[in-house]
Symmetry: D2
Subunit: 452 residues, 4 copies
């Protein structure tokens, strides 16, 4: 499968749903409160090529505007997985002699593709063999390997050139960061990485307040369900789970949390939320939300026990939080698509339906429009600061092939940049007060172990 | 303007957006929790003709399903006012020898049309004159008068037949009920009316919890604005205002209420919400919501003072809560439609925009899909019970040409019918306990003055 | 038993705990936000005699100050029931030729004593017999009858004089009002009564926000229990129950409600609170609160099933909401008084304790200091307005021997009087707006059936 | 000044308010949910001597029970500063040949006394001079120096013996920990210290949920103020400030936060709380709470501008958060003690009062009974675990003269130990899931930078 791309009058490549929506997209972008990452990076001088981090997350009209005005983009809502990875490959392809110099990642797929590409190339040089595409059990990874293989056949040095050129990556998700630390532990990471997810202004805001907003948005758009009076199970009580639990509780649901971590469990309890296992509540609850960042959280054997029209969705991580494979292959199960991203699945034994959102992928992206721009701006400001930092220190040796967190004063700066819009005024420490609590007058104000 | 209607294979008339959406509509209807008013009434034996109560409130796919399967419907999202009233006229037109026998009203427009029709007919018989259509200052009312006049020319006895045949109306909105009490006071009401709005299970649920849900839904879909951190002004702190204020507060906004009524004001204060005038906060707030049921709440001179991209919307009543006329006729103002029901209005002096939702009409209907079906079911159950009661007592003289509220035991019954779905179990009074508090064992449990 | 009273230098009678606490009491009274009912009535010209409405509710230092400065008071914290009723008798005793002219009642005990006194007198005149004191099964009522009998022996016309002179009563509790309506229904009420409890500014504020505050206060002072994380059962979801449920929920408890009324039950559900029976949860919950205004809510057979150190308390009504008699007479039960108003009761079978607050009486009065003065001021302003109204209309025939609610404009006035202290500003209706919604510009603003 | 102590029949020393309250104290201790630190340590084999960390924080009846049954205690509510430090000295005095081996500290005063004692001794050996007591400007520190000097005159090697013998300290407060890090930075710390404050199960629970509970408790007991409707300023939005802000907000106050740290400020904003400076709101607010851990937060020039009867209190740190010195020495100011720990201060210019709680010291300790036992149990379990760890590793060299945080698996253990009491059930990771997210099946489950 090849990706056919178009070009703007100025020669910028794109593949989007409908370039004629550019005007509408531009209007909406102008209303956005602060969070135009692509155009910020462009304004800072970068030449940007862009793809998505999720097959359902794109707003096609915004993409059209970006394609027309600012960057090469290869993305549309409702890509197949094959298309998704082809778009990623295309976004990384500056042609001979071109970039990328740096990667802004979200979920770690770009980082994965580059590292797997290099690995395949090196393996090929050693053994003369390409990866065993067909032998790969994981369907999505099979696609990745095939794309790498196809690419190497056309342009054998592509990933090697990237490896050589790349200054670093900044990554903003829990999931992507986890992969980076694994690569660091394995010694396979081959460029510096800034973990933007663990900036306080990211994880305690985007993950928490973003999901608090967009979970409800997704539920409302997809199902219009009355949340008040319902029983909702939130699997996981990390930052995302906390945001979801508080949103559901405030909307009038009775919330139950499942957890593995006793500290997070105790936090839920202190907020008046019972902590139980999925088995305890599976047949009583009306809404199930996975937020764990882990796999195999809600299995098909759970789904069979649910009430008719129970809603099942994931806002945590990949579509493997919910056992979509088990559901799709369940004997006799029937899928009725109500509308895109909202499917009824009917079990043959009971004729009971469950409603699965966004095919098990991130429901706030698939069923709504993701987080609001203002909270994304916190995350994107971290991304921009990280990119500037990596570029500034290129060649200085400050950053090694390992994972970094932004220093606290930059984290505080991200927050400070957003206070004015919300009408806030800070107090200044006096020198005597600063001395008394042993911090600089201008911060950073907290010790590293501080939890906020 | 004439309304061209289609017919189903079984001969049922309709005018909807796209009858081919019937299948999708039926799927969504099947997911609805309980609130299928039209099909309930049909199942009870009625022959139903239906139109909308709001030009933006229709979900066209659901309408298509109803048209195909159950009732004659004349409605689509985005009608002009002319079309709206033509649809209403059509819905009331059973042809010679036909109904309607009863009216289910929402906002009082059907009741208005019938009463104005009768009035025009009677005036004509007295004076030989039709209403002075062109002399009418109110644009919408001009349409009503013209339709009545046109109708009387074609079928002079149409409204007189209705008056004779109609058994009564049940009405579910604060606004519609206010009109009914005005007609009762004026002695012009010519059939019994059941005020369903003041059933506790309506006004304290639909108005409160419905708006608590659908205000956010409308804001999110129309603007995707981050509500956390914003300043929101809720004009009015009745049931609708209470629902809106709590929703915004829980979503992280700082809420300010405006009120005329000191009791409602004191309630807001006890909930931690400041009560100020619009003038005090107009230039600081980010979101404005009118919920008053009154007119001229947010005037164009207020809108001029608002911050850039302030959001202005109405969830209370007609589009005259917001001074749309003043805005539309403001010299040099520029309207930029972002998408249907979401308009930027740019003031020439400041180049500042405000964002007006649903053209000043009910934003939860215009920008989202209204209240969830479960809470609507409380209201619709009241409607059905009221219709059954009116029909049962037809000709018995129990109900005179005045406005009634459903008796408390029926109100309690509406609630009781919904408890099972939410897993609730009631306690039964013992006879000794019932005697002790002087109520029947089976209710009603509260004195008439009880406020819930 | 006779009540020995003292006299102030100016000759005012009193019986209080410790008159030397007057200075401390005065200091606290000066800090009170607005609610000095006795001294307001005194300042308006009344000669006041005062007793309590609850054996545990008195703050002895405040009483000392009142005794010293303003009124005859007969009350202390921790009266026996005998003492309680003797104080009431004393408070009603102006001596020959004296009052009372009017009664400010709270719970209806003064009204009861007067009515029972008159009844006994009339019975005696008819049959020559005094009430059968010893034949009375209810222990507290036995005391009432004995006091009446003793009193009639000393001063045979005492209650008849009261009946003749009394202009009316104003009553502020749900319980007292219930009695008044029962007397009205039976035709035994012999003076006009103003039901202040059903003023919106009373029942929706004192009952709700007062209990929301003072329930926590009572729990904290009596037990210092960590509420976060606990399971709390609130029996009854009227105004008091709503206040208690929200307080416990916000403090981090998981709240469960029991109800008989389906409408109140549905309200709880919409707020995310499950509605179950006591049996469902009796062995799991940590805290039990009765708020019903009914009797026999938590029985000793429930208490036996509770967890060790479960807390049981009543904030609704008399001590018969909790089966104190059953507990006290349970074979082998052991009572350990931790401190006044906080008792452990140990069941012999399990050696499990439960902790009962305020001996089953109102725990916010017994274990804390009742509601804050500011919210009491709403109630007391209603009382004062009612007293002024009764006195003004004395002899005009406006008020008959029946129960009245204050008109809405006075209710609105009560609210309006408290807005300034909280920094609120109201909007004024324009005449056009007032006409549009058919209300006077200055209110009242709502129809009678409005629920707030 | 010498401290006269008594002895129990078994020879244990004590100085408490009233040993006859031991029975009452024991009853209350038995009701405590889990948090009996002294008796836990005793049960583990320690010989314990105990004093307070705050002159107002003691519950005298509980102390009596401990004195009678378990440990040597030297403490009562309402000590003078002189008495406070004498008690501390006494608690550290095992006599010749005795301990202490380890210190459980809360606020760092014991650690301070020992370090200053050693410093004085070493200085004396060098220079032959004792500290210049009278030359010390800080009144409280003057007391410390005098006690040290007096002590060294009697027993010159006392602090040197302690230094030699002490295995380490565990410290549970933000303030105490700050001192430890300062000593570590200065190189003056002479034993290992475990920072228990930064255990997640301490700082995110005790500081947050403890204060959420006990702030209200203190306000209610001291003032019985109606919180609903009031404006409350919380100075600082760390863990303590967050707990206070949410408590006040839920109780119906309008909360305003002051902050120096932009991240904490942004958190407040996302929760709907405005962030302003004290100057902006000082004359409008009703309640002021300091939570900063810093000094000079509310100065006398602020207090002069406050509304009459504004409440000023501190729940953060020492009494220097509020400028008590400035207040006490303000020309013409008048202090009226309403009751212990509740003082009116009247400014001469305006005759306005402010109400200061607990003389500016921790109001939850001074005006109420501190945090509930259940949340303290989280902190105390950390203390016990830290003490066990220090003792176990005594002499192994594992811990150097520096500050440590408990490892995450112990933090998780503290949480796990409390889940059962709240009815919680955890899920177990499968090995596949654990591998997938790269954590051990039994935890710890989170990376070090995780914020909870």
């Amino acid at each position: 499968m090849a990706l056919t791309v178009s070009k703007t009058p100025t020669g910028s490549e794109y593949k989007v749903k409908d370039i004629s929506q550019a005007k509408f997209g531009r209007l909406e972008i102008e209303l956005a409160e602060t969070a135009i990452l692509i155009e910020t990076v462009t304004a800072l001088g970068a030449e940007v090529r862009w793809c998505s981090c999720n097959i359902f997350s794109t707003q096609d009209h915004a993409t059209a505007a970006i394609a027309r005005d600012s960057a090469a983009v290869f993305v549309w809502k409702g890509e197949s997985l094959e298309e998704y990875w082809r778009c990623m490959e295309k976004a990384l392809d500056w042609g001979p002699g071109g970039g990328p110099d740096m990667v802004v990642d979200d979920g770690g797929d770009a980082t994965l593709l580059i590292h797997e590409g290099v690995k395949a190339k090196e393996e090929y040089e050693k053994s003369g063999k390409f990866p065993d595409v067909n032998g790969c059990e994981n369907g999505e990874f099979r696609i990745v390997l095939r794309i790498i293989k196809d690419g190497l056949l056309v342009d054998p040095t592509r990933y090697r050139r990237m490896k050589k050129r790349l200054v670093g990556v900044s990554e903003e998700t829990t999931t992507g960061v986890k992969r980076l630390y694994q690569m660091q532990a394995n010694g396979t990471l081959f460029f510096p990485a800034i973990n933007v997810n663990d900036s306080v202004t990211k994880s305690k805001f985007d993950n928490l307040y973003g999901c608090q907003h967009s979970l409800l948005d997704g539920l409302m758009r997809a199902t219009n369900v009355m949340i008040a009076g319902k029983i909702a199970v939130v699997c996981g009580y990390g930052d995302v789970g906390k945001g979801c639990a508080v949103a559901l509780k405030q909307a009038g649901a009775r919330v139950i949390v499942t957890e593995i971590d006793p500290i997070c469990a105790l936090q839920a309890l202190m907020e008046g939320i019972p902590v139980l296992t999925l088995e305890d509540v599976v047949s009583e609850a009306d809404i199930f939300v996975t937020t764990t960042g882990n796999k195999n959280i809600i299995m098909v054997h759970h789904m069979k026990l649910m009430k008719n029209n129970a809603i099942v969705c994931n806002i945590g991580h990949f579509d493997n939080e919910i056992d979509m494979h088990g559901l799709e292959t369940y004997p006799g199960v029937k899928r009725i698509t109500i509308k895109p991203q909202t499917d009824c699945w009917v079990f043959p034994e009971t004729n009971n339906s469950i409603i699965v959102l966004a095919e098990g992928r991130l429901m706030n992206l698939g069923c709504a429009t993701g987080h609001p721009s203002f909270v994304m701006s916190y995350s994107f400001t971290n991304q921009v600061i990280a990119q500037l930092e990596l570029w500034k220190e290129k060649g200085t040796g400050k950053y090694e092939k390992t994972v970094y967190v932004l220093p606290k004063h930059l984290d505080e700066k991200v927050a400070a940049l957003h206070l004015g819009k919300l009408g806030a005024k800070l107090i200044k420490l006096t020198p005597a007060q600063a001395t008394y609590i042993s911090v600089p007058v201008d911060g950073p104000y907290k010790p590293p172990q501080y939890k906020y």
